[in-house]
């Protein structure tokens, strides 16, 4: 019976090709837009380091003045002071790794006069950054703790910088200048796809860092600091100057500006939080941390859940695309209803000749499933074109500062999204067809047989 129903379904699709195509197109357009937005939302919302994201924590301690306002969420809590980051880095805890991050910028130059200098922003961080966040290396490695402690001039550059400065060859061991500072390249990163760059708390996508240098070196050589300085009143007036000067005052101040991260195994989480409290109490005794002790230790999963929930652009477009898809499905219902209702006489006859209701339903479910499948296929084509369009819009709107290579993963239709589109296409089409099929299969067998 399946074969017969399949034959009838295919015949029906071929009999009225324009109606069939219109139904498929309606579903495809709706599904295409829906899948485009869904893919962007899905890819952009992917939590990096999925295998250990629950163990990667942003660490924040409330060191603000007593007069500061209450904060009930980590997103509104200040970062960490540099002296606290150094103290926390010095804490020995088995299985726990910690790192820090802020931004700097500089003009990278090499000896070869034929190569133009490149102005670039970069991350200042610690040796654990590379083991905690696992960026892929093309050549070499990150620096070790000893190198960091001695504030050696080492640098890890991105693939883009390596391509620009060294034509893509293995540049490990080469020197690069940032202003008057000479740094030795010890590692070259491969293209690092992060759905959002989380480690600076910016959560922006498609903008990888160009190079990485040790924080000890950056401080010792007074490299510029691109950061927001949350200072106490005493330092508030000169906070902006901390970007390029007053390094010592910054280091001694209560200005919070360093993003601090910890990787803590499950069994150590409680202990780690207690250590933070102990540390704060110790510092309190020294006259610091005037407020009630408050820490935020937030893992990547929770941060992404919060960020994804606040992504107004994606949320609004998700609603719009879902509504649009619903409207397309309603249109498809109308077309299917019109198509099926033209068939009442035939269905009435088939029922009279012995077809059971479920057989009539099966025949039309097969037909609708094929429409859904074809709608899904065409919808994928529409979604692919939509994603390419959205990607090019992003590149264009960034004045071409963002690269195709960095954005592509955020607009990629992977297996999950393809399967999602197919299942959504077929399922929604079937749901949409319930009413037309119900109407049709309830045609009384005698109702149409007397008509001329």
């Amino acid at each position: 019976m399946f074969n017969y129903n399949l034959q009838l379904a295919l015949k029906s699709l071929k009999d009225r090709p324009s109606l069939t195509f219109l139904t498929i197109l309606t579903i495809a357009i709706g599904l295409g837009l829906y899948t485009t937005i869904k893919t962007m939302s899905y890819q952009g919302g992917q939590v990096p380091l999925a295998h250990k994201s629950k163990n990667i924590f942003l660490v924040q301690m409330d060191n603000r003045e007593i007069t500061a306002e209450e904060v009930d969420h980590q997103s509104r809590m200040v970062d960490t002071t540099y002296k606290d980051t150094l103290n926390l880095l010095a804490m020995e805890m088995p299985g726990v790794e910690q790192t820090l991050n802020w931004y700097t910028y500089g003009i990278l130059n090499i000896e070869d006069e034929n190569i133009n200098p490149v102005r670039a922003t970069a991350s200042v961080t610690s040796s654990n950054f590379f083991t905690m966040f696992e960026p892929p290396f093309l050549y070499g490695n990150g620096w070790d703790k000893a190198t960091e402690d001695s504030a050696e001039g080492v640098i890890v550059i991105s693939k883009l910088m390596n391509d620009k400065l060294f034509g893509g060859k293995n540049s490990v061991g080469e020197n690069v200048r940032i202003g008057t500072n000479v740094l030795k390249i010890i590692g070259v990163l491969d293209t690092w796809h992060l759905s959002r760059k989380f480690y600076d708390r910016g959560f922006r996508s498609g903008r990888p860092d160009n190079f990485f240098i040790p924080h000890t070196y950056a401080i010792a050589n007074e490299l510029p600091r691109l950061a927001g300085f949350d200072c106490w009143k005493a330092d508030a007036d000169i906070a902006r100057s901390f970007r390029n000067e007053n390094t010592q005052r910054l280091l001694n101040s209560e200005c919070a500006w360093v993003t601090f991260w910890a990787e803590v195994p499950d069994e150590q989480i409680e202990n780690y939080q207690q250590q933070l409290v102990n540390y704060m109490e110790g510092q309190k005794a020294l006259g610091r941390f005037p407020r009630e002790i408050l820490t935020f230790v937030t893992n990547l999963n929770d941060q992404f859940a919060y960020i994804n929930g606040r992504d107004d652009f994606m949320n609004v477009f998700s609603i719009i695309s879902t509504l649009f898809f619903a409207v397309c499905l309603l249109n498809a219902v109308g077309i299917l209803l019109a198509k099926f209702m033209r068939r009442t006489k035939e269905v009435s006859l088939r029922r009279a000749l012995g077809a059971k209701k479920k057989t009539i339903i099966a025949q039309h479910v097969i037909e609708v499933a094929i429409i859904g499948l074809l709608g899904g296929l065409l919808g994928l084509v529409v979604a692919y074109l939509g994603l390419q369009g959205m990607m090019n819009i992003q590149i264009y709107s960034s004045d071409y500062t963002r690269r195709l290579e960095d954005l592509q993963p955020l607009f990629a239709l992977d297996f999950t999204m393809i399967a999602n589109a197919f299942i959504t296409g077929i399922l929604c089409t079937l749901i949409a067809s319930i009413y037309p099929i119900w109407r049709l299969c309830n045609t009384p067998p005698a109702s149409q047989l007397k008509s001329q």
Binding site: M1, Y4, K11, D15, K345, E346, L349, R350, R351, A352, L353, G354, A355, K356, K357, K358, T359, P444, P445, A446, L449, K450, S451, Q452
Partner: protein, 233 residues
């Protein structure tokens, strides 16, 4: 073989109740050829629809081939229609975009027969109605009489015990009507019970027995003897 006891059919709307059939008592034996006559709107088609298990009824009992049809599920009624009843309609009701072979195939498909058995039955049925050579034609390529013969082939292909014909000659000229009638008589002579609704008194008289329906009430008239008298006259 077919027995109705106190069968009533009422069509209800919010405002009106229409008694299409009132307390029908009827017994049709196996192998009979029964004609059903009556004025338009008297309930002939309703009677045929009930007899063919195309509609349900509210009161009474209806035994078809020994089985009480009342209260059976929709699926069960479909099975009965498919296996025990063949339908012939005034307007032929062939599927216009299917060749004759596939038209005759429709009820057999729903019976779940093998392809081989279906093919044999279809060819035999089309041969019986004299259209074996045209099984790849579409209905629109045939005359009205030929189309009705295809409908008959479709009705007999499953070898049903009953053939229900609703004005089978209503859309045909007299010559073609004659041919169709002869075909039905031939089928009846092989043992198939036939119930035929008609407006044509002459055709009605050719049946073994005539049932008249007037205002939903059936009067069962034994015509066999009278017909014999008419035919021999």
């Amino acid at each position: 073989m077919l027995r109705m006891e106190n069968v009533s059919k009422i069509y209800r709307t919010e405002l009106v109740e229409t008694h299409a059939l009132r307390k029908v008592d009827l017994h049709i034996k196996a192998g009979e050829f029964v004609s059903v006559t009556g004025p338009s709107g008297s309930g002939k088609t309703t009677f045929l629809n009930l007899a063919g298990a195309l509609e349900t009824f509210e009161e009474g009992d209806y035994f078809l081939d020994g089985q009480n049809v009342k209260g059976l599920s929709d699926d069960k009624l479909s099975e009965i229609r498919n296996q025990k009843i063949g339908f012939i309609f005034q307007s032929f009701n062939l599927l216009p975009d299917l060749p004759l072979f596939d038209n005759v195939d429709v009820p057999l498909r729903y019976r779940g027969m093998s392809a081989k058995e279906r093919k044999e039955r279809i060819e035999h049925a089309l041969e019986t109605v004299g259209l074996a050579s045209r099984m790849k034609h579409l209905p629109t390529q045939l005359s009205g009489g030929q189309q009705q013969r295809v409908a008959i082939a479709r009705a007999i292909a499953g070898e049903p015990k009953f053939l229900l014909a609703d004005e089978p000659t209503g859309n045909l000229d007299s010559l073609m009507a004659q041919q169709v009638m002869e075909l039905l008589e031939d089928i009846n002579s092989k043992g198939t019970t036939i119930i035929m609704v008609t407006h044509d008194d002459q055709l009605a008289r050719r049946a073994h027995r005539n049932i008249q329906i007037f205002d939903g009430q059936v009067s069962d008239i034994e015509k066999a003897v009278a017909n014999d008298v008419i035919r021999s006259a």
